[in-house]
Symmetry: C2
Subunit: 358 residues, 2 copies
Amino acid sequence: MITVNVDLGDRSYPIRIGAELIGQTELFAPHIAGSSVTIVTNETVEPLYGEPLRAALAPLGKHVSTVVLPDGEAYKNWETLNTIFDALLGAQADRKTTLIALGGGVIGDMTGFAAACYMRGVPFIQVPTTLLSQVDSSVGGKTGINHPLGKNMIGAFYQPQAVIADIAALRTLPERELAAGLAEIIKTAAIADAAFFEWLEQNIEALNRREPAALVHAVKRSCEVKASVVAADEREGGLRAILNFGHTFGHAIEAGLGYGEWLHGEAVGCGMVMAADLSVRLGLLDEAVRRRLVALIEAARLPTRAPALGDARYIELMKVDKKTEAGTIKFILLKKLGETLITDAAEPALRATLAASL
Amino acid sequence: MITVNVDLGDRSYPIRIGAELIGQTELFAPHIAGSSVTIVTNETVEPLYGEPLRAALAPLGKHVSTVVLPDGEAYKNWETLNTIFDALLGAQADRKTTLIALGGGVIGDMTGFAAACYMRGVPFIQVPTTLLSQVDSSVGGKTGINHPLGKNMIGAFYQPQAVIADIAALRTLPERELAAGLAEIIKTAAIADAAFFEWLEQNIEALNRREPAALVHAVKRSCEVKASVVAADEREGGLRAILNFGHTFGHAIEAGLGYGEWLHGEAVGCGMVMAADLSVRLGLLDEAVRRRLVALIEAARLPTRAPALGDARYIELMKVDKKTEAGTIKFILLKKLGETLITDAAEPALRATLAASL
C-alpha cells in the first residue's frame, strides 16, 4: 500500500492506494469519531463491495446504515441528493455521523456535497471504486450536483477525512469506464509532468490490461500531481484551473448530448483533442506534440472525434462554464507537455477547431 | 453610522449599523468586484426597498438583476432555493457575480446558502431589513434551508462580504416581527452580558416604540457580543453553541406547529422561558433571575406559554436538533445572567418543564 498525503493545513488527509483495501478495518478506524456511519453507494456497486465494506466496519461497533442510489450521471441531481438527506434524518444521523462514499465520481461528488451540507457539515470518507474517481474526485474536495443548465453548478469545496483507493475494485470496471479514468490520468500528465506522459506512452497497454503495478503507479502519480496543484490553490483562484484542461469542450459535449450519454472521462478525452487543436491553431503548441497527445488518447481507447452539436450550441454551452467571466470563455491551452496557458480565443479559431474536430 | 467588525481572519467583514443606509452607494462599492449583481428579495420587501437599493447600485455600472421570492419561513426550502439558481444560470451569472440578500432571516439564509453553493461559492452582501436578521443572521455565517424533518438541516457556514443594517427599514416592520427581533437581543444579553440585560430592562419601552438611538445601540451590542462568540468558534465546535439558548425548545415549537405558524423569534422567546424553567428545576438558576427573564420577554410582547404539542412530540422533535449527539438532547441552560451551561437533562425534569410551560 502507498500513501499520498494531501497537504491542506487542518484539512489535510491521506490517500491510501493498493489492492484489497476495502476489507481492512484499520484503514477506516482512525477516521470515524462518532457512533454512526452511513454508507452511500449505488445499485451497481452495492452488490459488489457493500458487504465487504460493512464487514470491515463491523469490528468498530458503529451503527452502520446504507443508502443505495440509482446508478449514473443522470441521477446527479437534487432529487437524488435529497434521498441521502431523507435517509440521514430518518436514521437520526447527528453532527458526528460519518458518511462513506462507496462508488465512482457521481457517488463521491454527491456524498461529499451531502456531507458538506448536512447540519452544515459532517465528516466523510471517499472509497472510490472507478479509476476516474480514484485519480480525480479523490483529490481536490470538489463536490456537487448538476443543474439542467450546467454541470456541477451547485456544490461546495469540502475535504474528506481520508480516501481509500482500492485497485482491486478496478477488476470489475467496464472497459469504457477504465478508458474514462485513463483520460484524466493523461490530462494530469499533459498539463504538469512530461516524464509521466512518456511513462504513460510506454505503459498504456499494461494499463489497458489492468496490470496492478501499472495501475498503482498511475493512480499514485496522478494523485501526487493533482495534490500539489490543489495544495497551492485550494479554492481554484488561479493555478488549479489548469486541471480543467479538456473540460471546457468536454462539459459542452456532456451537456449537449445529455448527461450520461458520454462518460465524463470520454468527454474530457475528446475535449483534450479539441483543446490541443485550438492550442496549435493559436500558435502555442507544436503539431508534433498534439499528435502524440491524440495518439495516447486513441491508445487508451477513447473517442477523439467530437459529436456534431453545431457551432452555436457548443459556444452557448461553453459560456455557462464556471471559468467564464463576463461572457468570455476561458480555455486551458497547452504550450508544451507540462505547461499550460489560460486564455480566451478569437471566434474564428474556435470555429475552426469545432469544424476540425467532427 | 456605527461599524462592528467581525474578525474571522481572511473571512472578516464589517457590519454597518445606522439609519438610511440602503441608499448609500459608497457602502456597497468596496464589496462588489465583478461585473454583475443579483438582488434576492421577497414580494413584501421588493416594493419597499428594491428601487432604493437599485438606485444606490446604479452609479457602479454593474449589470443588476433581481429575484423576487415568496415571503415566509414556509418557503425556506429547496424548491425556492432552486429558483435562485435558475435565475443565476438564466442570467449567465459567473463566479464573480455578487448576490445581495435584501430582506429578513429567510432571505438571508437562503441567499447565503445559494451564494455558498453556486459554482461552489460566489460573494454575497447581507442587507437585513428585519430586527431579527439585523442582530441574528448578520453575524455567524449560518446559511441554509429547512427539511420537512428539521429546521436548517441543510446548509453551510459561509461569510458575507459585508452587512448593511439599515435601522430605517424597521419603520415598516410589523409588530410581531419587531418583538421576534427583541427575543434574539434578550437572548444575547442573557447568555453573555448582564449589564446589557439591565440596559434592556430599562429601555424595553423605547425599543417597543422603535426609537432609533435605542435600536442602534441594541443592534450594535448584540452584534458585538455575537461576533466575539463566533470569532472564538466559527464552526460551532463548542462555545458558539451557547447562542442556541432557547432554540432547542424553540425549534420544536416551530417544527411542531409547522414552520411559519409562530415566528422564529417568538418560538425562541418562549423557548428561553422553557430553558430557564428547566435551569431552575435542575438547581442551576435562581428563581428570581428566571422571573426577570420572563418579565423582560413579556415586556417585549412575546409569547411565554408553549403550545400544547404533547410531551412525546416535543421530545421527538428535540431529538432531531443539530446539538443532539447519539440520541441525547443537549440543552443550553442558564446559571446566571451572562453564564450558561450545556448539558443533557433527566427526563422527569424535562417533562415537568413541558407541563409547567403550557
